[in-house]
Subunit: 131 residues, 3 copies
Amino acid sequence: VERFEVATRARRALVDVTRDVEAACARLGLRDGAAMVYVPHTTAGVLINEGYDPAVAEDLLAALEALLPRGPFRHTEGNSDAHAASVLVGASALVPVAEGRLRLGRWQRVFLCEFDGPRTREVWVAGLGGR
Amino acid sequence: VERFEVATRARRALVDVTRDVEAACARLGLRDGAAMVYVPHTTAGVLINEGYDPAVAEDLLAALEALLPRGPFRHTEGNSDAHAASVLVGASALVPVAEGRLRLGRWQRVFLCEFDGPRTREVWVAGLGGR
Amino acid sequence: VERFEVATRARRALVDVTRDVEAACARLGLRDGAAMVYVPHTTAGVLINEGYDPAVAEDLLAALEALLPRGPFRHTEGNSDAHAASVLVGASALVPVAEGRLRLGRWQRVFLCEFDGPRTREVWVAGLGGR
């Protein structure tokens, strides 16, 4: 498993980590199959969506924020909205890999999702081999 | 990676692609592990849910539509609700494979999710080998 | 594929199955890669989130319940809210495995999500090998 860190700058943010994932796959020597991009956190997530127009990421964060309650919560840290956003997005995403390259769609990028920052987050990348 | 295309007929639709996924797995020669079903699009997705009663798919689309805002959006294409639905559902799903066959639960089927159609969509299927 | 069963006790519940997943991985002999934790059901799911404070699980269930409509539904079983919750959470989750051990983050646990119980649910665990 390869790892890298991302320092986020706001409570909620989407950070394009596609190049870091590509570099991790190169270090793994992954040729074919899929890269699992995983966050070991419970108030963060990983998603794949449009990276060309940055306004999409802003709209995605606004949509998630509008969906989720601000409390009252039973969890006394008061950040259960961030836990719920993490669950909706998921702790991992899979990216196809062929001939040693990430095979995203034309407009797709891989984003680390921060829902309770700013913090320094870890991202793990593991290669799942094709058959 | 094997590929097939799906022509969708409405802005929002769930299309049962289970047989296409089975055929793609047969072409891959996948015996054991999982099939990754992936869409290279940012306003579409893949989900696994009930395919027996078509009313479930209609209720799922209605629930997603009720959840997501219609704007205003910063993204000038005006389809950020479709991007958000894609994120909630996810760009991929994993299906267990054993002895060369998809191992879905009794009522489960694999659906391509269209959120900004009608369009022709690609679906990619990759085999992730079991150990 | 290894399997185990979980008897849920309420209509909606999150059940920590991390130890069962660990035991299944040990039976599989999985050394490196990822464990795919999969439910063959259409009104259940699998998620990874905080397991330290049980109040988080309660807040997550409350957030999902607040999100989803109670009907009217076209599906005559009347449980389409449970199908929708299953879709939002997903039918599977991936857990990194290295040197024969699950590699969850410090606060992460694996939960079976029940959205239409009480029922006896199956959980399947398959090893996806690393490369």
